[in-house]
């Protein structure tokens, strides 16, 4: 969570204690829900019909400072007591250590709004599930400083990972050329497509066979690009807890959702993905770049429906949604697998960090699938965006 945001949101709920974080550009959100059974004792407090359970946020560093050295914690701490004292404005963390020693930390907290990302794994066209180890071994090939990585589906059910390289451009207001596409020919994996100018960046591409995954249910020829750092953060947690990681994704621009599931723990990481600037207003030969080979027959169908969606939303939106999170929509009626989802709403996709100028206009033409009900006007969430992006 500390890889995502500087503040830790604590929200006790009836179904457990939820710890959440969001990044400053609102393009990454994570939540860890610890079921009551995870604890020896769990008392979320009482909430009446008009009052909600108390929630707060604390500085991530302050909270982490209490659990500084994991090896020594494991050796010396017997149990940890967490108390939320609204009236004293303190979050109390008490560690009961060996030799009868007690460490009590009284952290100052801030009251906060409910931090809630809007996402729906059911609406994702593609899903992958792999043991964390497989993905950890795959990402080791990329430099830790890598900003964004592209996940794609290839022929024969193969899955690719590739570092995302920004195309070079001279002007400040960049206009993208043809979007990067993972073409799906019946021949060997595509070679890296030629950028506008010879790129000096090293490109690494890795292909994983379908049988490395526990399950693969993907739309062919799809790809998404998301932030590497937050993904790696979750991956190391998944590996440490030996849980398989499920990746739910859809079209570029729509959020990718990573989930970990356990009997007492539910983890969600929602990351914005880079959109393709594929719209009618763009001339295909803007930069004089040569075209990629024509996409396979499968692809144009997806592309058309995607573009239709773009046009629909741009026409029908009620005005630019707030750069902050949720555009809440009414709950769909379909039933869900038990304990899989906390929320059922869509997230307004925010382009990946760092926010690029070229994506600003795309942002307001936010993606909605056709046929969805119109945007609800209620927006429950979030602190104001201090970036000044809007």
């Amino acid at each position: 969570l500390s890889r995502i945001g500087d503040e830790l949101y604590l929200e006790p709920t009836e179904s457990g204690l939820s710890l959440r974080a969001v990044n400053s550009s609102r393009s990454a959100f994570a939540s860890f829900l610890f079921a009551p059974l995870f604890f020896q004792l769990y008392e979320p407090g009482s909430s009446g019909p008009d009052t909600e359970l108390f929630r707060c946020k604390v500085h991530m560093k302050s909270f982490l400072g209490i659990f500084r050295s994991l090896p020594s914690l494991e050796k010396s701490v017997g149990k940890c007591l967490i108390l939320l004292k609204p009236r004293a404005s303190r979050l109390v963390l008490q560690l009961h250590c060996k030799y009868g020693v007690t460490k009590t930390h009284n952290l100052a907290f801030q009251e906060c709004e409910r931090l809630q990302a809007v996402f729906d794994t059911q609406r994702c066209a593609s899903r992958l599930c792999a043991p964390a180890r497989v993905l950890t071994e795959a990402v080791v090939h990329f430099p830790p400083t890598l900003a964004e990585v592209t996940l794609g589906t290839g022929p024969g059910g193969k899955i690719s990972l590739r570092n995302y390289v920004e195309e070079e451009a001279g002007e400040s207001c960049r206009v993208r050329g043809p979007p990067p596409r993972l073409v799906v020919p019946s021949s060997p994996p595509p070679t890296p497509f030629p950028p506008p100018e010879p790129s000096k960046t090293m490109v690494t591409e890795l292909w994983l066979a379908e049988d490395e995954f526990q399950s693969v249910a993907v739309a062919p020829g799809s790809h998404i690009t998301f932030c590497f750092k937050e993904f790696r953060g979750l991956l190391s947690f998944a590996e440490a807890s030996n849980l398989p990681l499920t990746i739910h994704f859809d079209e570029p621009g729509r959020p990718v959702i990573f989930t970990l599931d356990d009997t007492v723990l539910e983890v969600h990481l929602v990351l914005a993905t880079l959109s393709d600037l594929q719209s009618n207003s763009q001339s295909p030969s803007t930069n004089g770049v040569s075209h990629l080979p024509a996409p396979s027959d499968d692809f144009p169908d997806d592309l058309e429906s995607y573009m239709a969606a773009m046009e629909t939303s741009e026409g029908g939106s009620e005005g630019p949604p707030s750069p902050t999170f949720p555009l809440r929509t009414p709950r769909p009626a379909e039933s869900e697998p038990e304990e899989e989802e906390e929320e059922e709403e869509e997230e307004g996709a925010v382009p990946g960090t760092p926010p690029h100028k070229k994506f600003r206009s795309l942002f307001f033409g936010s993606v909605m699938t056709p046929g969805r009900p119109g945007l609800a006007t209620t927006q429950e969430v979030l602190a104001e965006d201090s970036d000044g992006e809007s």
Binding site: S62, V101, T104, H105
Partner: protein, 315 residues
């Protein structure tokens, strides 16, 4: 009279005492520290104010490191041994005691010998062969001090290689006297150092003070900090396995500057036990019992004044 000494000292008496006057007319006498000397340590027949030998220099250097929070230290040598004192801000004093029995040879000609010296330089010299302690290897040390105005000479040998060091000495400072004696102690606790090490290493440095509460009632022994994140309290119950002795008569809460006490962490890390005592004025005495590689016992103690800017403690 030695020209060198004449330049440094105008006191004939002290020159005579040192012995330069035995070679009149020579610009520099053979006993003068300015003369290039051979690698041979002086014969033990020489009259040195302080002369000591130690088979393993680490017995000295590790203890000196435990009090090395200022550049300079005051050394006092008496028949019972060597005491090295470091002070800061007129609020804190640390003493390292290496008793005569630790040395293979220890002789002090007068009642006491005292000088001020750069502790940083002294430690650099003592560890000139490196600080890693490989089993079986040790640096042998011979230390000589002719007296007032003379430098401290160190002869260090390891594996047949000899290093000779000469460190200038200065006029000793007047040292603080905390007047801390056992009859004035109000509260006293002896703890196994293991229990405090982590606490001191992880002290919230954003807190200006470390508050120590000692009481016959709960919380018995409590260390508190008040930092940017909030307050933190570390409680040790009187019946804890770590508690070797618990003699608290009165509830006392005193605050000390964290920056002054933090250096004591080094002494704590070396020690096996620590005694914590306070007197009626809130002066703090920390005494660390340190066992060296050969199992011999040495002591390091820290004295600290309470912080005068008392504000209300957070709950």
């Amino acid at each position: 009279m030695c020209d060198f000494l004449c330049w440094r000292r105008s006191d004939l008496t002290s020159c005579a005492r040192i012995g330069c006057v035995r070679f009149p007319g020579r610009p520099l006498c053979s006993r003068c520290p300015a003369m290039p000397f051979s690698a041979q340590p002086p014969a033990s027949g020489e009259r040195y104010a302080l002369s000591a030998s130690l088979d393993n220099a680490r017995h000295l250097s590790s203890l000196l490191r435990a009090v090395h929070f200022q550049d300079h230290a005051t050394c006092l040598a008496t028949a019972s041994g060597l005491r090295v004192t470091v002070e800061d801000a007129k609020c804190i004093q640390a003493n390292a005691f290496i008793q005569a029995e630790i040395f293979q040879e220890f002789s002090v000609q007068e009642e006491s010998v005292m000088f001020r010296i750069s502790l940083s330089v002294l430690l650099d010299c003592l560890t000139i062969f490196g600080t890693s302690s490989l089993p079986g290897t040790s640096t042998a040390l011979r230390m000589c001090y002719r007296g007032y105005g003379y430098p401290l000479m160190l002869f260090l040998e390891e594996g047949g290689v000899v290093t000779v060091c000469k460190i200038n000495t200065q006029e000793p400072d007047e040292l603080l006297d905390f007047d801390f004696c056992s009859t004035k102690v109000v509260n006293k606790i002896i703890l196994q150092s293991e229990g405090l090490r982590e606490a001191f290493a992880e002290l919230d440095m954003t807190s200006e003070v470390l508050q120590i509460t000692m009481s016959p009632d709960k919380p018995y022994f409590r260390l508190s900090t008040f930092g940017n994140a909030g307050s933190a309290h570390l409680d040790y119950p009187r019946d804890s396995d770590l508690m070797e002795a618990f003699h608290c008569n009165q509830t006392q809460t005193n605050r000390y500057k964290v920056s002054l006490l933090k250096p004591s962490t080094k002494a704590l890390a070396l020690s096996c036990k620590v005694s914590i005592r306070t007197d009626a004025q809130g002066f703090l005495s920390l005494q660390y019992m340190i066992r060296n590689e050969d199992g011999q016992i040495c002591f390091v103690e820290y004295y600290c004044c309470p912080d005068e800017n008392i504000t209300e403690a957070e709950l």
